[in-house]
Symmetry: C2
Subunit: 193 residues, 2 copies
């Protein structure tokens, strides 16, 4: 097991409905040393890529993406979930369905911050059905930017999102891929990588 | 002018309705080196405080709070804006009105992550009417936690939020306090600190 899998086994909680709660260290309370280690690990895995910008989606991707951006020495942009009066009309838009919140959101990125010059590493905390990643890929394509790779902290390997994105030819790295969870015993099985 | 005021003058854009757009470096696209400098500056200003946890609110507070938490060597907790199925019922709740989005949100923090043992530094990107800070203070009080201080990146000094919170006796530090903005000329006037 790698550092993240060990932490998931130690502090993750399996709940009914294939929910894995990691909110004590990843997406509600955040362990900053862990986020820094995650940043270093993504830098290692995408070391050969030319990355000019990190793209993520609010809210729980932001902390992780910050430390990835720090490692690459590039800015981070996060897609926003609803139209704010502070954002001008000139935005890229994608529709994203949330597994966690069971709703749909439009996500937007200001056209000022993505262009065809950009080489993006897309970062998110979870990958399940892949809707959030697909939305960010759609925004990157609309901008004419190059997607150099996608980095996920926890992939639910028993859902189809990861396979669909790999089948499209993208370089997708997930630090932990959960193959199965048992809410009775709390046991979590990871895919061997 | 300090480093932040200089950056606001360089890259901030004054819009109608007392809107200051800083989304090219602070709350949509994020300049990570600037966030790191902000983290160090808050550490300097609250160096004498015993801080066990950083508290912020999603989404744009998260990146800043991450780097403040890194400087203090403590975890960060962010208040969430809507009830997620991943959060158990055991939460602290406060109602927060958003100036930017012109709506009200319930914000929640899981009771697991705040207790009377905690000494909090509350962080946010903007302070205008103070609703977000008041909501976080209410959550801290509900948890019995001690508020050691509040750190804001940009305060709108012409709105009442900052004065109200200082009048309550809290130690509030704002890295830049905007006294006036002129949308015609783009001129931004800062309070001398």
């Amino acid at each position: 097991m790698n550092f993240l899998e060990e932490r998931i086994v130690k502090d993750g909680i399996v709940k009914a409905g294939n929910v894995l709660k990691v909110d004590s260290f990843l997406n509600h309370q955040m362990d900053i040393q862990l986020l820094e280690e995650i940043g270093r690990e993504f830098k290692r895995r995408f070391a050969d890529k030319h990355v000019t910008k990190i793209l993520t989606i609010e809210a729980s991707g932001i902390g992780i993406a910050c430390f990835v951006a720090k490692e690459f020495g590039v800015p981070m942009v996060f897609a926003k979930k609803s139209k704010s009066i502070n954002i001008a009309g000139d935005v890229y838009v994608a529709e994203v369905e949330s597994f966690t919140h069971m709703n749909k959101n439009q996500v937007i990125v200001s056209k000022a911050f993505l262009s065809e010059e950009d080489h993006l590493l897309i970062i998110d905390d979870f990958l399940a059905n892949g809707c959030a990643l697909q939305g960010m890929i759609a925004i990157a394509e609309a901008a004419g930017a190059t997607v150099e790779g996608l980095g996920i902290v926890i992939e639910k390997g028993f859902q189809h999102g990861g396979r669909a994105i790999r089948n499209l030819g993208y370089h997708l790295e997930s630090l932990a891929i959960v193959e199965a969870m048992d809410e009775e015993t709390g046991k979590i099985t990871f895919r061997q990588q």
